[in-house]
């Protein structure tokens, strides 16, 4: 795609990107060589924005946004800009380390790569000899090189390859898949009416949604209705903010459906031709009146009814936005299902401004030698306990429970890539026990995370700006394929994940499965990109994109949805067969009592998950986390801003400073993620503030197994 075309299309739709100012050259100039800098792809969060790295004398001086990528909408956020500092961070991991003291004591011996590989391979082989390959766990979070890590675990023979979705968006993905057979995107660039519940899009940046929503609400005057127990930046930009009682979102959604159906505001023709189970839904939502929902949600019935009418009237340019991190409550899957049904009945499916099935970009595949399927079943027993969930991703918290019990078999080796389970999983104490009972723990990361601090071997990965990675396809309304290429050579003794996997594979007798270079891998992928000289193009521009949204491709009589019935399943037989509610049934959440508060979590645009808080340019903006508490309960507890508090749950206790603020419901407290680190190598946040994972209790969604992180009640007292 030529940039010019993209600008025309954007201009022809509704305006988001302003015309570029006053004839300035970049980013207007066309032609293959206009880019000032090396095109690559950011890795500071999962959005994969395209960047142009400016290099002077072998040193990266600046990262600029690459406007070629329609998904990143010509921007680079604070984190993306701070990546330069990550490369030259004096505290980053610079060479392999082998533990010499007790775990967590911080005594390390710098090791050569050969030594670290030999040591690790021996440990893994010993565990394999004693417990079989299933005695090892391979857990990772999202990344372009994650595939090599996963492949190593699988080639080793372990069924226990544990990915991140059950700590993230497993419930929302499953809910939309069970309903539509796919997970769609939401066309915020063109929607006229948007409802968001807890999806704090202006602080938790998701491309292109965040930028499209700003354009939508500020330029086109689209309506934004926002539900959140906190007054977030998104709340401040919304037309209406409701501090909904936590855990009651489903009541709000069911009542909206009640109104839309009772008043015949639904899309009758669409429901008749494309869905199954509308009759059952009609009966199902009858008791869920707005008056009833008011009692649950604390949102006035007349507002719920008014919003329902306005939503239906604005359809198909109206969406109830799905949200991203959907690890909230134990009914999360069913709540997201309710959203999916609400979207279905107003017929916003595959319409401009509605909910749109993703387009993809074709790419080639490098074929690796296939390995045998693992002999053992997964230790998390996902197939048995969560038959509808993604077995290849696994369910993290049930896995931890089983592992601690040694059921159904012992797991004694843990390899971790790019993840910090001590912060990513609720109940840090339990994760620590899981670490303790491991005979071997190996971590691959770029910084000394808390989990790395407790590991036996730490492998330093090269920074994204020092690596070439596989080509990644980002499906969407504006899909793109992006390329991450090496900008500078590694400045320390680090390796990319592929070479780490190869080093281990060689010593584990698995070299045949890794008999390739990253260049060969990328070349195979680039061959089938929908552009001539794909690899050359990627090296020059870093991105191939389709800028033309396609609406309505699935709106034809021959289209079959990838569901059992081939239609959108309002009523789900598969859920019924699996023993779950075939339509979302509301159960009131347990509310905190005895002076306790519900601990709620959220994100900020300068922090990714529990990482980046140690980077100076970002740390300046969040030097420490604090506990948000409403003035009313604060007064009762004699708490003032800045007071040191002791916060405790049934599983842990932390000390954290108070922030008395109007910006939260009186029955909730909030803290940012990414503080209270145990690793002294994260010196700016080591023992600074508190880690929410210490307090969070173990709970999960019943259908997807997704962690339920808003189910913890805490006691707050002055320390």
């Amino acid at each position: 795609m030529e940039r010019r075309t993209f600008m025309e299309i954007i201009g022809a739709g509704s305006l988001i990107l302003p015309p570029l100012a006053c004839g300035l050259r970049r980013p207007v100039a066309a032609g293959p060589t206009f880019l000032d800098g090396i095109a690559t792809t950011c890795e500071l969060c999962p959005n994969k924005c395209s960047v142009l790295a400016v290099v002077k004398d072998g040193h990266i001086t600046k990262l600029n946004p690459n406007p070629d990528n329609p998904k990143s909408r010509g921007m680079l956020c604070a984190r993306g800009n701070a990546a330069v500092q990550q490369v030259y961070d004096p505290d980053r991991l610079k060479q392999p380390l082998i533990r010499v003291g007790a775990r967590g004591e911080g005594k390390w011996r710098p090791a050569s790569w050969d030594e670290a590989f030999d040591y690790t391979a021996k440990k893994l082989s010993d565990i394999k000899a004693k417990h079989g390959p299933e005695g090892t766990l391979w857990s990772s979070t999202e990344g372009f090189q994650e595939i090599f890590f996963k492949n190593l675990g699988q080639a080793f023979g372990s069924p226990n390859v544990m990915r991140h979705p059950s700590l993230c968006l497993a419930s929302v993905n499953l809910a939309y898949s069970m309903t539509y057979g796919t997970v769609p995107s939401f066309d915020l660039l063109n929607a006229d009416y948007v409802i968001m519940a807890g999806a704090n899009r202006f602080e938790s940046i998701i491309t292109p949604d965040t930028m499209d929503l700003i354009g939508g609400t500020m330029e086109r005057k689209a309506k934004l209705i926002y539900l959140d127990p906190r007054f977030t930046v998104t709340a401040s930009k919304a037309d209406e903010w409701y501090p909904i009682k936590p855990g009651t979102d489903m009541a709000f959604i069911l009542a909206m459906m009640n109104v839309i159906i009772a008043e015949n505001r639904y899309d009758k023709a669409f429901l008749e031709s494309e869905t199954v189970g509308f009759e059952q839904l009609v009966e199902h939502v009858k008791p869920y009146t707005p008056e009833w929902a008011e009692g649950e949600t604390e949102i006035p019935a007349q507002d719920i009814a008014r919003i329902a009418r306005a939503f239906a009237d604005a359809a198909p340019r109206a969406v109830f936005y799905a949200g991203r991190r959907s690890s909230w409550y134990q009914n999360d899957f069913q709540m997201r299902r309710a959203q999916a049904l609400l979207n279905a009945i107003v017929g916003n499916w595959d319409r401009q401004g509605g909910m749109v099935p993703n387009q993809k970009i074709a790419k080639g595949e490098f074929l690796v030698l296939p390995w045998d399927d693992p002999k053992a079943a997964r230790v998390d027993e996902v197939e048995k306990a969560f038959p509808l969930a993604s077995a290849k991703d696994g369910v993290y918290l049930p896995l931890r429970e089983n592992l601690l019990k040694g059921q159904p078999y012992p797991v004694k080796g843990w390899m971790i890539y790019k993840q910090d389970p001590l912060h990513a999983l609720p109940d840090q104490g339990k994760t620590m026990k899981m670490l303790d009972q491991m005979e071997f723990v190996g971590v691959i990361d770029i910084a000394m995370s808390d989990t790395a601090w407790y590991a036996d071997v730490v492998f330093p990965e090269s920074h994204y700006l020092e690596r070439t990675d596989p080509i990644e396809v980002m499906p969407g309304i504006w899909p793109a394929a992006v390329y991450r290429q090496q900008v500078v050579k590694p400045i320390h003794d680090t390796k990319p994940c592929l070479e780490i996997a190869q080093g281990l594979a060689k010593r584990l007798g698995l070299s045949d499965y890794f008999d390739y270079t990253i260049e060969q891998w990328v070349e195979a992928e680039a061959k089938e990109l929908p552009i001539q000289n794909g690899l050359e193009h990627m090296k020059q521009r870093g991105v191939v994109a389709v800028s033309q949204p396609k609406y309505g491709t699935t709106r034809n009589p021959v289209h079959r949805f990838l569901t059992k019935s081939g239609k959108i399943e309002l009523f789900s037989d598969r859920l019924k067969e699996a023993g779950h509610d075939p339509l979302p049934v509301y159960t009131p959440p347990v509310q905190p009592s005895g002076g306790r508060f519900r601990l709620v979590l959220g994100r900020k645009a300068t922090i990714t998950h529990a990482t980046l808080t140690n980077l100076p340019w970002l740390h300046e903006h969040n030097p420490e986390n604090d506990l948000w508490i409403h003035p009313e309960p604060a007064a009762k507890l004699n708490i003032q801003s800045g007071d040191l508090l002791e916060v405790s749950s049934s599983v842990g206790q932390v000390r954290i400073k108070a922030r008395v603020t109007q910006e939260i419901r009186p029955d909730c407290v909030f803290m940012l993620h990414g503080f209270g680190k145990k690793s002294p190598w994260l010196k700016r946040v080591h023992n600074v503030g508190a880690a929410d994972s210490v307090l969070l209790e173990t709970a999960w969604d019943k259908v997807s197994g997704n962690a339920a992180m808003h189910e913890t009640f805490v006691k707050v007292v002055k320390a």
Binding site: I214, M218, V233, W617
Partner: protein, 187 residues
């Protein structure tokens, strides 16, 4: 909108649509990176204001930086001539001539200047003149996710900046100082 001082081909200025600001700090970090600004001091920043009582709350963000005034008091008070103004309106500090007396810091109505603890000279927003001279946008403008800032030439009637000022209501901050600030905040 014409300014009194402009006789040259270009007069750079900035329009700020603060309502679109989400306080994400992209502009602040981009500026740090582009201009090697030390920790603890800033060439641009975002003022936050929250008011009201739960649940009737309001929050607003105001991106701030040097206003590149038409008649800048910082330049007037500088005893060495280190603070100076280009013909296109960009106000700069010539580090070689700066003695770190900080008169300009006091004279600036916008608190937009800082003392650089490493060089003991005064630093400030340059509108990324080095980028502008190469035909690029200032780093903060280019990187902004919600495109709050619009940079451009007041004298170019075709520029988006010019068009915004011709069609939208706006204000400048502290107009009473007589400095003629060139940051235009859309209302």
């Amino acid at each position: 909108m014409a300014t009194k001082s402009v006789k040259t081909a270009q007069r750079y200025a900035m329009v700020i649509d603060a309502k679109k600001c989400i306080n994400c700090k992209a502009c602040v970090v981009a500026c740090k990176a582009e201009n090697q600004v030390p920790l603890g001091v800033f060439r641009n920043w975002i003022d936050e204001e929250t008011s009201g009582e739960y649940p009737h709350l309001r929050m607003s963000f105001d991106p701030e930086q040097c206003h590149h005034c038409a008649d800048p008091s910082c330049v007037r008070v500088c005893p060495t001539g280190a603070s100076w103004q280009r013909e296109d309106g960009i106000v700069l500090v010539n580090e070689d001539d700066c003695i770190g007396c900080k008169y300009c810091i006091i004279a600036c109505p916008y608190d937009a200047r800082y003392h650089n603890p490493e060089t003991h000279t005064v630093g400030k927003c340059t509108f990324c003149s080095h980028r502008v001279d190469r035909g690029e946008l200032p780093a903060c403008v280019e990187t902004c996710p919600s495109k709050v800032r619009v940079f451009g030439d007041l004298n170019d009637p075709k520029s988006q900046l010019h068009q915004l000022l011709a069609t939208r209501r706006y204000e400048v901050k502290n107009p009473q100082t007589g400095n003629g600030p060139q940051l235009y905040y859309l209302l």
